[in-house]
């Protein structure tokens, strides 16, 4: 399959009174057209920043972004505006990402107006088509965002992102603010649209069950760095990084028959301001050794298409396999 987006050693630092905040610190990945890359991690791990840097809402500190074979890391304002037609974003909070003074019709028509794409009559037709596509009844066209519930507002966000017929959409926690029954509706809309229009998604979320459901590949982030990346099935079946293991075992599963090994994490995420050259997870890791404090681990392709950043990944996983054998008998 054709590669749509490639990101190499992407970094985004923010200035902070206490020093440089390393929000995204050297992330590399590539996505094929039509796939969904799930980016997971806890708050403050840099997953939203990553999404924003990739579509150039934020300028990267260093690194390269290659979109459809073209280096788009440093483009002019004009080129960026053109690029925006191909790359869009759906924001997390459907309560603050919409202009409260525009009605639904104007909100969805807004990108089309900005790009002076269609005539008045065609624009109207397109807006109604988009509303149908995302499952927003036409009677809401002249309602204002405050009159609608979260699910419908999120549908507006999706319609806006789709209005320019993009190929690539960053979904930044699009369902986190919604109730489960509405969340399922929105996830289905996103999946249907992806199939229909051959869209490529980066799906940023903290909810691992959502990621498992919607993504083809998963990237796990911790304190600005990528700790593990693999195919979704593989990552959930055989997580290799100690953090991924802990993360997976921490999710409460609504199934009383589902038994699993619990890995408990102590402490909290370390500060991303001026981090030391060590593994960022070292203070919470059950398997930390001397080496982990001396140098930050690089990414390694431990299994085919399965990348892990951990000095001791082999020892840890062999160890676990042996333990399991030992337990079995």
């Amino acid at each position: 399959m054709a590669e749509l987006l490639r990101v190499e050693n992407l970094k985004k630092y923010f200035k902070n009174p206490a020093g440089m905040l390393h929000a995204v610190d050297g992330v590399s990945f590539s996505i094929n057209a039509g796939d969904t890359l799930g980016v997971v991690g806890e708050s403050g791990c840099g997953k939203s920043t990553l999404g924003r840097v990739v579509i150039k809402l934020l300028e990267p500190t260093s690194g390269t972004i290659i979109f459809k074979g073209k280096d788009v890391t440093s483009v002019t304002k004009k080129e960026k505006k053109e690029l925006r037609k191909k790359m869009q974003i759906i924001f997390q909070d459907p309560f603050s990402s919409l202009n409260p003074r525009l009605c639904v019709f104007d909100l969805i028509a807004d990108p089309l107006k900005t790009y002076r794409l269609l005539g008045r009559a065609e624009r109207q037709k397109k807006v109604f088509e988009l509303m149908d596509m995302v499952g927003l009844a036409r009677r809401f066209a002249y309602s204002y965002p405050h009159e609608l519930d979260g699910g419908r507002r999120q549908r507006i966000g999706i319609a806006r992102a789709l209005s320019l017929d993009p190929e690539f959409i960053v979904c930044d926690e699009p369902v986190s603010a919604l109730d489960v029954s509405i969340q399922a509706q929105i996830l289905n809309v996103l999946q249907d649209l992806q199939q229909e229009k051959h869209l490529t998604y980066i799906f940023v979320t903290h909810d691992l069950s959502v990621v498992k459901h919607i993504s083809t590949d998963v990237l796990v982030m911790y304190a600005g760095v990528m700790v593990e990346k693999a195919k979704t099935k593989e990552l959930f079946a055989t997580p290799l990084h100690p953090y991924t293991k802990a993360l997976l075992s921490a999710i409460p599963v609504p199934d009383i028959d589902y038994k699993r090994q619990k890995v408990k994490l102590k402490g909290e995420i370390s500060s991303p301001i001026e981090p030391k050259d060590e593994c960022r997870f070292v203070n919470r890791c059950l398997y930390a050794t001397e080496a982990c404090r001396k140098k930050a681990p690089g990414y390694e392709e431990v299994l085919p298409d399965h990348f892990v950043a951990c000095h001791n990944v082999r020892e840890i996983n062999n160890l676990m396999a042996e333990e399991a054998d030992h337990l079995r008998g």
């Binding site: 029954s181 969340q183 921490a250 609504p254």
Partner: protein
């Protein structure tokens, strides 16, 4: 038979606005036995928090009003208690953990003092003793006592929630109401807080009403489950009843809506439509507008909560008639 610690009977709560009356809770019967953890599950606007606030008698009036029902706590009706009695009951008998730990603490008061204040107000002790007890409580929730002299902004979200839990448990309440205690937290921190809550519940022998929208959390720490929809209980039962043998179409719909970690599902089956407007609730079964099995009768007849097996009740006409 032993009487329940908490026994809510036919509770109705409504909020009046200038234009209409919003019926938030419509006839809830809920029992919590000593030592048990009951999970109250429902979506936004189901009336979960209103129920909790009614138990604490914290519904602001106006606009809110408890229009009917009784809330028996150890056999005594809390709705008839005087405000003075309620002050004594709150936190020493029943205490509550609010959803958002970021706003539940006083930003200009030291953490240790905030906990001590609760103890001093309710216990017969001096301020020094209260301060000592406050330090003990901090240690109990895994925060070094020395940090009691810090202010809330110096604490992370998970630590603030621990402080709120310490405050809630400081006077050894018999009943703890936890309103979405971990919703604002990350999963690994959530796991820590949930584990701590279960341990403390054992240690202090507290009963708990856990309000949540997350069925995963319910599966991990609750003994009994109550599912609410539009201000009514639609199904209740033990953990096994609800997770192995859910009967109400809404409960089933909830389970089908959640992306599963334990099974592979290609496509979710969401519940169509939206929660009804509580100012204008549908007639008959309140869920019939979204229910895939609804018949004409469902739109006209009001179903009652009927037992399908001991301890497992369902509010659905078609289940009652044995059609589902």
């Amino acid at each position: 038979m032993m009487t329940s610690l908490l026994d809510i009977k036919g509770l109705h709560v409504q909020y009046s606005t200038r234009k209409n009356i919003i019926r938030a809770v419509n006839g809830i019967d809920l029992k919590i036995d000593a030592g048990k953890t009951v999970g109250l599950v429902g979506e936004t606007g189901a009336g979960k928090t209103t129920t909790a606030l009614s138990i604490m008698r914290l519904i602001s009036s106006p606009p809110g009003r408890i229009s009917e029902g009784e809330i028996l706590f150890q056999g005594k009706d809390l709705l008839k208690a005087t405000e003075h009695d309620m002050r004594l009951i709150r936190s020493s008998e029943i205490s509550m953990i609010f959803q958002d730990p970021m706003t539940a603490l006083n930003p200009i008061m030291r953490i240790g003092q905030q906990i001590a204040e609760v103890i001093y107000q309710h216990g017969d002790c001096t301020k020094t003793e209260a301060m000592e007890r406050s330090k003990e409580m901090l240690e109990t929730v895994g925060i070094p006592a020395a940090r009691g002299s810090e202010f809330p902004h110096q604490f992370s979200g998970g630590m603030k929630q621990r402080v709120v839990i310490a405050m809630a448990l400081a006077c050894n309440p018999k009943l703890l109401i936890a309103d979405e205690p971990t919703t604002a937290l990350d999963v690994t921190i959530q796991a820590q807080v949930l584990e701590m809550m279960s341990d403390l519940k054992e240690k202090f022998d507290t009963s708990m009403l856990l309000i949540t929208h997350d069925l995963g959390i319910v599966a991990e720490i609750c003994d009994e489950v109550v599912i609410m929809y539009a201000g009514e209980i639609v199904e209740n039962g033990s953990l096994e009843h609800i997770f192995r043998d859910a009967r109400h179409p809404y409960t089933k719909g909830l389970f089908a809506s959640i992306p599963s970690l334990s099974k592979d599902v290609d496509r979710l089956t969401p519940i169509p439509g939206l929660m009804p407007d509580p100012a204008n609730l549908p007639t008959g079964c309140k869920f019939h507008t979204r229910c895939p099995h609804a018949t004409e009768d469902c739109a006209n007849l009001k179903p009652s909560l009927v037992s399908v097996e001991p301890g497992h009740n369902v509010r659905c006409l078609r289940v009652e008639r044995g059609e589902l």
